[in-house]
């Protein structure tokens, strides 16, 4: 198998983070890094759709919310282990991804982006009305008293072990995307992106592979949402507003959709930067200004985002030396 240099660096970084990050970050920071990893995984779903198929999905965080909801619902309703709950959450969001794929057969570009935004707006309202299950009775399972315990995976009971667990799964998510890129779906997507008509006439089932992409993106969002639920054992509806979905897409563009590094940068900007601002006593609203300026910068002058600029920098150095 052929592993590119960027792939080696990526795997190396994953191993490094897996080994070092949980050891050096304690208390609150291990939770922040865990949620960073979750959002990185969800962003990976956005970036591959955008870079491979040119599809803009403004509903990724809403899908995460659905994944998290299913995860908590499963956790409080049954005695299954963590992994089975996670698989169910991923399966449900995959189906939701397919539902979003239905309009994609009739529209693309701006209209498709807008319909995913409408879906995100709808999910926001439903989640903020019915809230997340925390051990109560009934289908919605909400109780106002202290929430029931959340079962983390057998392997990862402590915060640091859970961070390792999430980093490992996020890495697997990236590998899953890479596998898709190298196999039949990736070739089909490349063709569809170039021209749907050409793809169709060369015998590619456009409908099938588009739906596949939406399903995969939904699956990643669902896993991310499920893992996020494990960080604190509960979720807050305000995490999954439609505006957050838009924000995460914006940061995916800032990070750079074509490279794995872009999703990592997006996750770090989304979760770590506001936390750092908090630590330094700066107003977290200022991160919005930075995000906005970075987004304008990325769109006007750096189509491959920060990741593209970083990678170009390295390439130039390799060439000149």
């Amino acid at each position: 198998m052929n592993i590119s240099r960027s792939g080696i660096i990526g795997l190396g970084l994953a191993i490094l983070l897996f080994a070092i990050l949980p050891a050096v970050s304690g208390g609150q920071w291990s939770k922040i890094f865990t949620s960073t990893a979750c959002f990185t995984l969800a962003t990976a779903g956005i970036t591959f759709m955008y870079s491979r198929l040119g599809l803009v999905s403004l509903g990724q965080v809403a899908l995460m919310g659905i994944g998290g909801w299913v995860m908590l619902r499963m956790n409080h309703a049954f005695e299954f282990p963590f992994e089975i709950n996670l698989a169910v959450a991923a399966a449900v969001t995959t189906v939701f991804g397919w539902i979003l794929a239905l309009p994609a057969l009739r529209m693309r570009g701006l209209y498709l982006a807008l319909i995913t935004l409408m879906a995100a707006g709808g999910v926001e309202i439903i989640l903020s009305t019915y809230r997340f299950p925390n051990g109560g009775d009934g289908f919605w399972g909400v109780t106002s008293s202290v929430s029931a315990p959340f079962r983390r995976p057998e392997l990862a009971q402590s915060d640091t072990a859970y961070l390792r667990y999430v980093i490992a799964i996020t890495t697997l998510g990236f590998l899953l995307i890479e596998a898709h890129r190298r196999l039949a779906p990736g070739r089909a997507w490349a063709m569809i992106r170039r021209s749907e008509a050409a793809a169709y006439s060369s015998g590619i089932n456009v409908l099938y592979y588009k739906a596949w992409a939406f399903g995969l993106s939904g699956l990643l969002a669902g896993v991310a949402g499920g893992l996020l639920a494990g960080t604190l054992g509960l979720l807050d509806p305000s995490t999954f507003r439609a505006s957050e979905s838009i924000m995460l897409f914006a940061l995916a563009v800032v990070g750079g959709a074509r490279f794995w590094l872009g999703a990592v940068i997006a996750g770090v900007l989304y979760r770590v930067l506001p936390a750092l601002f908090n630590d330094w006593g700066l107003n977290a609203d200022l991160t919005l200004v930075i995000f906005g300026a970075a987004l304008l910068h990325a769109i006007t002058t750096a189509p491959d985002g920060l990741a593209g600029q970083i990678i170009n920098l390295f390439r130039r150095e390799v060439k000149s030396s």
Binding site: M107, L110, G292, L296
Partner: protein
């Protein structure tokens, strides 16, 4: 054209039936009250949507920043009011601020992106929205504030219902704007040039349409509408920068009802969204999720409008 008209008729009928179904068996006074407040909210959605559509038609930019511009305008007006500036002056100050913000983007950043895909242009405005929102939220920290217009206290009686003048202004403003912009685009030379621009940018440039001038005017109009919508939203619903900024999402829902093109449909879409959202308060089971109405209506309208379309060989639009 004819099928278009029937689609519209069908939409209005379906929505009226829905309203009757929701409101069945409730006293007239109560229903009327909810319809009026729903129309006011719906006009706000429609106003936002009209601003978006006017700009989209002339420049091809779907402006996610319009909500943020409105939020800044109303916060500025509130602040000036706190400093004791006369009320009329504060509104007059808010408008140029909104126009200035809109033109800043329209002149400095938008021309550089003119040849990109519509999605990219829309996402770029999001960057501008984040900058404005960040600044606004930084200057005016989270706090409970109230912005009220003198017209809140005056009311007129319409069919036995008390309607505050502010609500009346919003509803009338939406209707007048639609007529005014329709006349402007249809009857003036600049309107003609804007329509040409919307149709084909390259060809318009070749036949001598002054693109930059037409676009500047469109951005200024969008700025005025955004500022006005922000003021009204701050008065009628809530004075909170984040909430007003993301009012742009239901505004987009209203704009979708008109396919980002037809102002009358945007107005109708916005109004029905507001009324249905408000009437759902009467239904105990659906009461809590009533803000979902704009999104459901917009999604259904979009799917309906795109029915039977074959995407495969269509151009990206």
């Amino acid at each position: 054209m004819k099928s278009h008209f029937f689609s519209l008729l069908f939409y209005v009928l379906a929505m009226s039936v829905l309203c009757v179904l929701i409101a069945w068996g409730k006293p007239f006074q109560v229903v009327g009250m909810f319809v009026v407040s729903g129309m006011a909210v719906g006009s706000l959605y429609a106003l936002g949507g009209i601003g978006l559509v006017v700009l989209y038609r002339a420049t091809g930019v779907l402006n996610f920043a319009s909500g943020a511009i409105g939020a800044f305008a109303v916060m500025l007006a509130w602040q000036l009011g706190q400093w004791g500036v006369p009320a009329v002056m504060t509104w007059l100050a808010a408008m140029p601020a909104a126009i200035a913000l809109s033109l800043t983007y329209g002149r400095l950043i938008a021309p550089g992106l003119a040849w990109r895909e519509p999605v990219v242009k829309a996402i770029a405005t999001l960057g501008f929205a984040l900058i404005i929102l960040g600044m606004t939220a930084f200057i005016w920290d989270d706090d409970v504030r109230k912005f009220s217009l003198p017209s809140d206290k005056q009311a007129v009686m319409v069919m036995g219902l008390r309607v505050t003048v502010t609500r009346l202004i919003v509803i009338l403003a939406a209707i007048i704007l639609v007529i005014g912009i329709w006349l402007y685009l249809g009857k003036t030379r600049m309107g003609l040039q804007m329509r040409a621009l919307a149709n084909d940018r390259n060809l318009s440039a070749l036949i001598g349409v002054r693109i930059l001038k037409a676009e500047t005017i469109a951005w200024a109009i969008a700025g005025v509408i955004a500022g006005f919508t922000g003021l009204m939203f701050g008065d009628l619903i809530r004075l909170e920068p984040v909430v007003i900024t993301f009012l742009v999402i239901p505004s987009i829902a209203a704009a979708i009802c008109g396919r980002l093109d037809n102002l009358v449909q945007v107005l109708l879409g916005g109004l029905t969204m507001g009324v249905i959202e408000s009437l759902l308060t009467l239904q105990p089971t659906l009461k809590d999720i009533r803000p979902i109405a704009p999104f459901v209506i917009a999604a259904l309208a979009l799917l309906w409008m795109q029915r039977g379309k074959q995407l495969l060989f269509a151009r990206d639009n």
